[in-house]
């Protein structure tokens, strides 16, 4: 449904109610449709009188659940500066800032202090944990179990173990989690010159 709308030159605000309901559905059912959501923001951009803060907030929060994709940036570019500075959108921008700088400790602290902000998005916290694991997997060959619990939001060892299993990491005896053998992919590369026979053949033949 969203695909055909995005292509249509309608930009008709009468389509908004349907699309807005769809946004709410995504929030409730833990589904995600970037194109439909951008279409809503575009309609708001073209028809500022129709802007609905609640819907825009849902869209931005859903964008965070798709990290590390840069959907959040795409959304920001379509929202008027005045609207970006209003609550709760401004608060959501702060959350985005914390996640993008991987300041997970403070992120979890913020959401603990203001649970209502994210409560309307089903599965929000787990989506963020997925992103956090993506970052952990990229950065660490091994990490302390405690630190993992910390970045996942001060979860219990049991919950952390679930995430370890999910990504096929292994728990070691010394309290470390072995993430992956980074050595294999992250190696110093020496790009040396390859001189092929063909390139010198011409010279060799003429120097006889």
């Amino acid at each position: 449904m969203a695909k055909s709308f995005a292509r249509s030159p309608g930009y008709n605000p009468e389509n908004l109610p349907t699309l807005e309901r769809y946004v709410q559905m995504q929030a409730a059912e833990n589904t995600y449709d970037i194109e439909a959501n951008l279409a809503v923001l575009k309609l708001y951009q073209f028809n500022p009188g129709y802007f609905q803060t609640e819907i825009a907030s849902l869209i931005l929060l859903k964008a965070l659940t798709n990290l590390p994709h840069t959907d959040f940036i795409l959304c920001k570019c379509l929202i008027d500066t005045n609207r970006l500075n209003e609550l709760p959108v401004s608060k959501i921008l702060e959350l985005s800032e914390l996640l993008e700088t991987c300041d997970f400790e403070r992120f979890w602290a913020e959401t603990r202090d203001d649970p209502d902000l994210i409560s309307s998005i089903v599965g929000f916290e787990d989506s963020i944990r997925k992103f956090i694991c993506h970052v952990v997997a990229a950065t660490f060959q091994s990490i302390e179990m405690e630190k993992l619990q910390q970045v996942l939001g001060h979860v219990t060892p049991m919950v952390a173990a679930q995430w370890v299993n999910k990504y096929g990491w292994t728990t070691q005896s010394n309290g470390m989690i072995f993430v992956s053998n980074q050595e294999e992919s992250i190696k110093t590369k020496n790009i040396t010159e390859k001189i092929t026979f063909d390139s010198v053949a011409a010279i060799m033949s003429s120097s006889r």
């Binding site: 995005a6 030159p9 930009y11 970037i34 194109e35 951008l38 575009k42 951009q45 073209f46 028809n47 500022p48 590390p68 994709h69 840069t70 940036i73 795409l74 920001k76 570019c77 379509l78 929202i79 008027d80 500066t81 970006l84 800032e97 993008e100 700088t101 991987c102 300041d103 997970f104 400790e105 970052v135 952990v136 990229a138 950065t139 660490f140 060959q141 091994s142 990490i143 302390e144 630190k147 470390m176 980074q182 050595e183 992250i186 190696k187 110093t188 590369k189 020496n190 790009i191 040396t192 010159e193 001189i195 390139s199 010198v200 011409a202 010279i203 003429s206």
Partner: protein, 554 residues
């Protein structure tokens, strides 16, 4: 009087007509223009003054217009292109360097009130006003030009079958390009509310439909639909024959090219409105990695790559942005000489060249990676200072570079004329700048970390934390941020620019094992072998030439 002025050797349109005098038959109203020359210059001038403005159209211009018109009506593509690219520009330089061409009403009798030709003439007329006339277009001219475009597009789109018109691709691209440019110009003009008189504001207020964003979008979408260009591109990309799906209009070159150029127009328009996703999405059937028939107009290619690169940059797909910019900058390097004699085009290309180098400089600071040597050396030459400042976290430099290189963003809505603010017209730009700078600020520590990492193969976290004067905890956060930001979505296959996989290809990479950072650097050895081989070949050639000259001299 003017007939014996120097005639361009390659343009003997007077010869074509065998002497002076107008070609077209006069319209109604009882004046037969051709043949009415009494031979007495003063009487002729009097006559002309009665029926037109006081401007007297020089003979050479009249002949040009008649020839131009005939070429268009004969669908003589070669001659039309010649008139468009050479004739018109040469006459402009000679007679209308900074002034408008004669108004359409003035030249209408010369071309027998040929409706279609007059529309095309007006397209050139207004484009020239925008480009060369000092004061730019008046509000009325902006409106008139808009109506003219409407007439042109209505003519093309509302016909039962393809219209009998053949225009060179360069002109078709210029029409779309200019159409959007004039919309852009009008939007910005309209937004600068504070400097306007009450009358002007009233005119703007009561004409919301003129240069309305929906009309512009509508035109572009209609041209895309009419030509079936998306289906054609899809089939072409998979190796099939576009003609099999093009339909009657799509097979016609005019429609097909306008359809393609409209896609690029949409890329640009969406970018100007800050919608980078849609901008790239409209191109999803165009395979940029294959040489395609559509990409023969250089300014179209350059515009395309500029906006694609910019969209990638804003989406933090630095690797794709860098690849895109390097690609087109190399292309410009190789083809720039061809445009030496087309001043306006050359200037435009040079400007875009500079903008893209600036963006490339930004991207390489944020995401260092290897690029083509000749592009890299030019970058080192001209942009090293800027890059150095950006590497030292100079946000002002980032701002300056972005402001120089970015497109002229627009808002799709007209201003509220009752609430005049001085800065309304800058709002769209300020929003995009804010988004960009916030992204840069999030990455601001990364170049510093990178410079430390380059010095070691292993480095304890504690030590690096001490260098950076932060806690270990804070450093871990920054290291994770480094990894997160350096893992870009990178295009790997398929036609859609939006597709991609997460990859990390930055020069300096690392991983953390417990408390130790292990660093991987990419070292490129100097290419001695290649250098020697090239020099040897060069000397051999010189020796050969000398020997030949010696033999010849005997």
């Amino acid at each position: 009087m003017w007939a014996n002025a120097e005639m361009d050797a390659d343009y003997d349109y007077v010869g074509y007509y065998g002497g002076g005098g107008g070609g077209g038959s006069g319209g109604g109203g009882g004046h037969d223009y051709d043949g009415s020359h009494t031979g007495d210059p003063r009487q002729d001038m009097e006559y002309e003054r009665q029926f037109q403005s006081s401007y007297i159209v020089p003979e050479v211009i009249k002949n040009f217009l008649v020839f131009f018109q005939k070429s268009v009506n004969d669908q003589n593509l070669f001659e039309v292109q010649n008139c468009y690219e050479n004739g018109f520009n040469k006459l402009t330089d000679r007679f209308f360097k900074n002034t408008p061409w004669p108004e359409a009403d003035v030249i209408a009798p010369i071309v027998g009130n040929d409706g279609i030709f007059l529309i095309l003439y007006k397209e050139l007329y207004y484009r020239h006003v925008y480009a060369r006339v000092q004061s730019g277009p008046s509000l009325e001219q902006r409106f008139e030009s808009y109506y003219n475009y409407c007439n042109l597009f209505n003519y093309i789109l509302n016909a039962d079958g393809p219209v009998p018109l053949e225009l060179p691709n360069q002109w078709l691209w210029d029409i779309i390009d200019e159409f959007i440019y004039q919309f852009q110009s009008f939007s910005q003009y309209r937004s600068k509310v504070s400097k306007k008189s009450e009358d002007e504001i009233e005119v703007l207020r009561t004409n919301p439909k003129i240069w309305n964003v929906h009309s512009v979008l509508n035109v572009l979408h209609s041209l895309v639909e009419k030509s079936n260009i998306n289906r054609q591109l899809e089939i072409y990309a998979s190796g099939g024959d576009p003609d099999s799906v093009s339909g009657e209009f799509g097979q016609n070159s005019l429609y097909k090219m306008l359809g393609y150029f409209s896609l690029i127009g949409l890329l640009r328009l969406h970018s100007l409105l800050g919608d980078y996703y849609q901008a790239l999405k409209v191109l999803e059937n165009i395979d940029f990695h294959k040489k395609n028939l559509y990409s023969r107009v250089p300014s179209c290619q350059i515009t395309t790559f500029y906006y694609v690169g910019f969209a990638y940059m804003m989406m933090r797909r630095y690797q794709d942005a860098i690849r895109t910019f390097a690609n087109i900058l190399l292309y410009i390097q190789r083809t720039k000489q061809m445009f030496q004699n087309r001043a306006q085009l050359y200037d435009q290309i040079t400007k875009n060249n500079d903008k893209m180098y600036t963006m490339l400089a930004i991207c390489l600071v944020l995401h260092p990676m290897r690029i083509d040597e000749s592009v890299h050396s030019h970058l080192r030459e001209k942009y090293a200072d800027k890059q150095l400042r950006m590497q030292k976290c100079d946000m002002a430099e980032f701002e300056q570079c972005f402001s120089f290189a970015c497109p002229k963003f627009l808002s799709p809505v007209p201003p509220n004329f009752d609430m005049m603010t001085d800065t309304f017209h800058k709002e769209p730009f300020k929003l995009q700048l804010r988004v960009f700078l916030e992204e840069v600020a999030q990455q601001i520590q990364i170049p510093t970390i990178r410079s430390y990492l380059k010095l070691y193969t292993t480095l304890p976290i504690a030590k690096l934390a001490a260098f950076m004067e932060v806690t270990e905890e804070a450093l871990r956060t920054q290291l994770m941020c480094f990894k997160h930001k350096m893992k870009n979505l990178v295009w790997t296959k398929g036609t859609s620019c939006l597709e991609g996989e997460f990859q990390s290809a930055s020069e300096v990479d690392f991983y953390v094992d417990g408390n130790m950072i292990h660093i991987a650097d990419t070292k490129v050895a100097r290419r001695y072998g290649d250098f020697f081989i090239r020099q040897i070949h060069k000397f051999e050639e010189i020796t050969r030439n000398l020997q030949q000259t010696a033999v010849a001299a005997k």
